[in-house]
């Protein structure tokens, strides 16, 4: 079954009782409990990394590394923040480090669009105005969109990914990226402005 990335649980930083239980069991060495935590957050972690890298293989590898590193550091998790915030921060740091080490922009390896994309009202409005060949144009738009995202700096792309795609709040993003809300808003504004310029022929 191909899980769509927009079916992930809502972004909530509040620690849930279920999470606490699973974390304490995993800290005691219960791999099944950690397995449950992986299943709970794998889609959101993978999606964040994928939108940052625009490369499925890199995203899969980094997502695995994130969960491996989290498992190794699980003993140090005190529960001050939610497990969601904690593992998200690991993923964000790992991804930004990876992108800094990757000197040249990597080759894009884009995932397929799911069936719902053709029926998304926002997308339909944009596509139908321009072409009757909807499927072809969707793929072209996807490539242009990802290319435009890759033009942004890592920090700006991360803010757009977390806010406009993942739906996180400004406060959560600030917590994840170790910056204040003002910085998050400013980066978001600048990133959208850049994207608007890169995608002008699709928007105007």
């Amino acid at each position: 079954m191909a899980a769509t990335l927009n079916e992930s649980p809502p972004a909530d930083a509040a620690p849930t009782p279920e999470d606490r239980l699973l974390v304490s069991r995993a800290q005691a060495g219960d791999l099944e409990a950690y397995d449950a935590l992986i299943r709970r957050y794998q889609e959101r972690i993978y999606a964040t990394i994928y939108h940052m890298t625009s490369n499925h293989e890199d995203a899969a590898d980094l997502a695995q590394e994130t969960f491996v590193k989290a498992h190794r550091a699980l003993k140090t998790f005190k529960g001050d923040s939610s497990f969601f915030t904690w593992i998200y921060r690991i993923a964000v740091n790992k991804t930004i480090n990876f992108l800094k080490q990757r000197r040249h922009r990597g080759q894009m390896s884009l995932n397929d669009l799911d069936f719902n994309a053709e029926h998304d009202p926002d997308i339909v409005a944009l596509i139908s105005e321009r072409t009757p060949h909807r499927e072809v144009k969707l793929r072209e738009l996807q490539e242009r969109l990802n290319a435009a995202m890759q033009q942004l700096s890592d920090e700006h792309r991360m803010v757009v990914t977390l806010h406009d795609i993942q739906g996180l709040r400004h406060e959560q993003i600030g917590e994840l990226m170790n910056c204040n809300v003002g910085t998050v808003r400013s980066r978001l504004y600048y990133a959208r402005q850049q994207l608007q310029a890169y995608l002008a022929d699709w928007i105007e």
Partner: protein, 186 residues
């Protein structure tokens, strides 16, 4: 600047398309197994030998590896070319391995004996005494600290020069009564 009042609705609509990008079917079903396998692999991580760790940077930095290779090659070529002359045998007999010591007429003691005219025994005694009563114990030459002499004090009269034999023998045998000129030869 009021970021929330911006007009980026179209951009946000376009970004909605990103939410429809999905990994290959079955990816998330296999994902936990892949993580578990990596966790287990991490526990039994094989020890990498030192030579593999040494050459690991060369795998991702070809320029560095090339520079190292050129440097090592240069050292080898230099050693093979110029080092040969330095390794030429000083004494053919040594090179042939016939005798482990230098010829007798080239030993320091024999050379000194030929200069001073003293016998080997006397000379050996002088050398032995010199270590017990070093030259620095001798009084400084009177002309060296003459006030106002300047460099003229260093430039000694011709009579002050004595044969090296006198210097060596007197300076070593009786340091207390050594002539002032004997210890200041250039």
């Amino acid at each position: 600047m009021h970021p929330e009042q911006d007009d980026f609705e179209s951009v946000r609509c376009l970004l909605a398309l990103k939410r429809h990008e999905v990994p290959p079917p079955g990816f998330f079903d296999a994902f936990p197994d892949a993580v578990r396998a990596r966790i287990r692999a991490g526990r039994t991580r094989p020890v990498i030998p030192w030579w593999q760790r040494l050459f690991r940077p060369a795998q991702w930095r070809p320029a560095l590896a090339g520079a190292c290779a050129v440097a090592v090659g240069g050292v080898v070529v230099w050693h093979a070319g110029f080092g040969q002359t330095a390794r030429l045998p000083m004494y053919p007999s040594l090179a042939r391995g016939e005798q482990a010591s230098a010829p007798n007429h080239l030993t320091p003691l024999h050379a000194m004996s030929s200069v001073t005219g003293l016998g080997d025994a006397e000379l050996a005694s002088s050398v032995a005494n010199s270590s017990m009563r070093p030259v620095v114990g001798a009084p400084p030459p009177s002309w060296l600290f003459t006030p106002g002499a300047g460099m003229r004090g260093v430039t000694r009269p011709a009579a002050a020069y004595v044969r090296p034999t006198a210097m060596v023998v007197t300076g070593l045998q009786s340091s207390a009564s050594a002539p002032s000129t004997s210890t200041n030869l250039p």
